[in-house]
Symmetry: C2
Subunit: 285 residues, 2 copies
């Protein structure tokens, strides 16, 4: 097996090659002065089983992904599987209003050209898979997140809203602790209080777990509420750390913030290489 | 006919609608905090003949182009023609080395999905058309450039190299003046002089005409050489003004710099709306 890491996912691709004891393919990537990308696969990968790893975010990395696929189309590889650790544009998975682009459908149509299978981690959409004609493999980062949290003596795992509860529950199960979600409670016509639905945060160590942290606004508000409820420690964990603008600065209200390496950030403390390697290995047998 | 202008080409789309007496379609474009794009076609364009106008540069505008095409796929339009005034990634139109992406082929495969015809202006590649299965229409910006130059009493039009001579000649023909190209002449083992191949720049008003100005380095060097040869006035004109970094500042060595509106810049003084309108109108009859 040969692994190609695009510039969005070069660290993860290296770890994946390590996990799989596979070769990392020598490549060349550069940007021209006008910021157009150039990619080249340097090693001979004729007849190889190739895995291309490149997160689809931001836009320039999506274009780079298409360039890798184009370069691969000229090489006689035996098989091509595409790993898109962070699948951007999954937010818009249907047309809510007439005339809207279904951005993940657009991406799916472009991504699947030439690939036989696609792998992604914690897609921010339940409907994204329907647009992929190639075999869709969605992996969970819960084991990676739990691996780091288990050293932090967490009392319970909290989802920032009910929709995210399933992910929090998966992590809690791996930690053998409870899970809950933040609920808005209307106190009177002027006041809305946000607090855990059933558990008491007083004196507890709480891990807020979500799939994406973007501006961090949700996590900052949740942390402030948990502090008011007497939480001892608040950890924020997510799969995909976008950390838009000064998000990491604002998130210093938390005792710790971390994410996986589906996107590269200063707090990409855990890797999803293990879960991806397991899935790729399983497919191979 | 209905015109949709993407955010790379909104000014030009407006002018094109004016030229064609066609309706400019109401749209909504925005960027989420994480910089992902959202597009929506607001007007009803069912059964209409639609023209989508969006330059493919930089990367984020290419992604936006794909989103427009996706939105259009859901609407029952009568016909769709895509105008890409500046076709980015045309530089790499073949694999010079094994394993290289042929970037314009990648783009072509993605662009032509759903469209019946494509139009572009002065493609920076002779080979780009071969990758498009849809009908390829390449238009010349020479009339637009000549329209502005004719008020500036140009003595001759100069191409920055021999490969660009044909474009310079087209402009010169419209101005009823001569054309030439810059040639490197080796004076001795240490000195290479660059000067017009046959014409004398002394006391003359010279227009340097190229398809793309990127960093402006070529034009700056050419202007300096022409000044040394006694040129009275040096004007730099191009179809596509990329003006990377501080290019416009450096180009102040010229008496005037201008480009068309295939890309929006502070010196997009002339429009290609006329040549595009003519081509679209001719196709329609």
């Amino acid at each position: 097996m040969k692994i190609i890491g695009g510039s969005a996912s070069s660290d993860l691709a290296g770890r994946l090659a390590g996990e799989l004891e596979a070769d990392l393919v020598a490549t060349e990537v550069k940007r021209f002065p006008d910021d157009e990308a150039y990619v080249r696969i340097v090693d001979d990968i004729t007849e190889d089983d190739v895995v291309l790893v490149q997160s689809a975010y931001p836009d320039k990395n999506i274009i780079e992904l298409f360039l890798w696929q184009d370069a691969l189309a000229d090489l006689s590889v035996n098989s091509l599987r595409v790993v898109i650790p962070y699948l951007g544009y999954a937010r818009q998975d249907k047309a809510f209003l007439k005339g809207e682009a279904v951005s993940i459908r657009a991406l799916a149509n472009l991504i699947q050209m030439g690939a036989s299978e696609m792998y992604t981690v914690d897609a921010h959409s339940e409907g994204a898979s329907r647009y992929f004609d190639v075999r869709w493999n969605e992996l969970s980062a819960a084991p990676a997140l739990a691996g780091h949290l288990k050293d932090l003596n967490i009392d319970f795992v909290l989802a920032p809203d009910e929709g995210a509860l399933e992910r929090a529950r998966q992590v809690a199960d791996l930690l053998n602790c409870e899970s809950d979600y933040l609920e808005k409670k209307r106190i009177d016509s002027h006041t809305v209080e946000v607090s855990p639905k059933s558990l008491d945060a007083g004196g507890k160590s709480v891990a807020i777990v979500d799939d994406i942290i973007s501006t961090g606004g949700t996590i900052v508000r949740a942390t402030e509420q948990l502090r008011e409820h007497g939480a001892k420690t608040v950890i924020a964990a997510c799969t995909h750390g976008l950390f838009v603008g000064d998000a990491l600065e604002r998130l210093k209200v938390c005792d710790e913030v971390f994410c996986t390496d589906t996107l590269m950030s200063p707090v990409s403390k855990v890797t999803v290489a293990g879960v991806i390697a397991e899935a790729l290995g399983a497919q191979r047998d």
